[in-house]
């Protein structure tokens, strides 16, 4: 394993990364340009806008929603989103009676194809510790207060299985187009710490 250098501070992570990248490049094991391309893809192409399209389609197309809840991986792939860290997806639906929240208590598993890379708070200890024991107080920190009568379900993501919350369609959106609806679907609402935005 990586030697922890007990008692001494670790070298600056920026230096550790440069050391690794330079050695691996010299050995011909990696191509720095491929790394550039991957980083750019995740900065510009893969993010919560993808998940928002899935949600908006489910809001306007009952047949799609049925497929999404029955086999999320396949239904999400219909829209072109699949791959690394999204190989097995489950979509959980919010209703007036049930609110879902996703977390990864053991690490930081997250559905990359639909939500992109996770925010720092999702990967940090406080959210991971508290989401399972006090989800309502966690949601309150995001400005979300649910009625006591709403059941809260917390889903602990694993390396193999990633969840996505299907938020409730906000009231007053009956005449909106799919594209307009997608703009109401935030990353946080698909993690379940908030609801979708009001129009």
């Amino acid at each position: 394993m990586a030697k922890p250098h007990a008692g001494t501070p670790e070298p600056d992570p920026a230096i550790r990364v440069r050391a690794l990248e330079s050695i691996l490049t010299e050995k011909g094991l990696i191509d720095p340009k491929a790394l550039d391309a991957l980083v750019e893809t995740f900065e510009t192409k893969i993010g919560p806008r993808n998940g928002a399209k899935v949600v908006a389609k489910a809001w306007v197309d009952a047949e799609y929603k049925k497929r999404l809840l029955a086999d999320a991986t396949a239904a999400i792939k219909e829209l072109g989103f699949s791959g690394l860290q999204g190989e097995d997806m489950v979509v959980v639906e919010n209703t007036p009676d049930v609110h879902n929240l996703i977390v990864c208590t053991l690490c930081s598993c997250y559905p990359w194809p639909t939500l992109g890379l996770p925010p720092v708070w999702y990967k940090a200890a406080p959210f991971r510790a508290r989401a399972v024991s006090e989800p309502r107080s966690v949601m309150k920190e995001f400005g979300t207060e649910l009625p006591e009568t709403t059941e809260v379900r917390v889903w602990d993501t694993t390396a193999e299985l990633r969840y996505l919350v299907l938020p409730e369609r906000p009231p007053g959106t009956e005449k909106m187009t799919e594209e307009q609806l997608a703009a109401l679907v935030t990353r946080d609402s698909m993690i379940g710490v908030t609801k979708a935005k009001a129009p």
Binding site: P4, P13, L20, L29, A34, R130, F142, A159
Partner: protein
């Protein structure tokens, strides 16, 4: 494996403090670390479970203090050394060289 990574239900860790309008990456080195994730998977053939196993072996204090991509670094280093792609000495020497301003 039980350990510090098993955070569910732990008390005393404080508020969540979500960052508003958070960028995908905060530092350039995080971008490189992210890129190495996919690149090293390709040629080492290690699994996500194995990747996590190295993270779960990080000493508890480092685990709680270190950032997410620092956790990944432990994992890359552990796996690359195990599979014989680099040696600890080689890596330490390169780190020392870079720390002293070498290229």
């Amino acid at each position: 494996m039980n350990g510090i990574h098993d955070l569910g239900g732990m008390h005393g860790l404080g508020p969540i403090n979500p960052e508003q309008n958070e960028p995908v990456f905060h530092e350039d080195w995080e971008k490189r670390a992210f890129g190495l994730f996919a690149a090293t998977f390709v040629f080492t053939g290690y699994t996500v479970d194995e990747f996590r196993h190295y993270i779960e072996k990080i000493p508890p204090a480092h685990y709680l203090e270190g950032s997410y991509y620092e956790h990944w670094l432990y994992s890359f280093e552990g796996a690359l050394i195990k599979y014989g792609h680099i040696t600890r000495d080689e890596l330490d020497a390169r780190i020392a060289q870079l720390q002293s301003g070498g290229h």
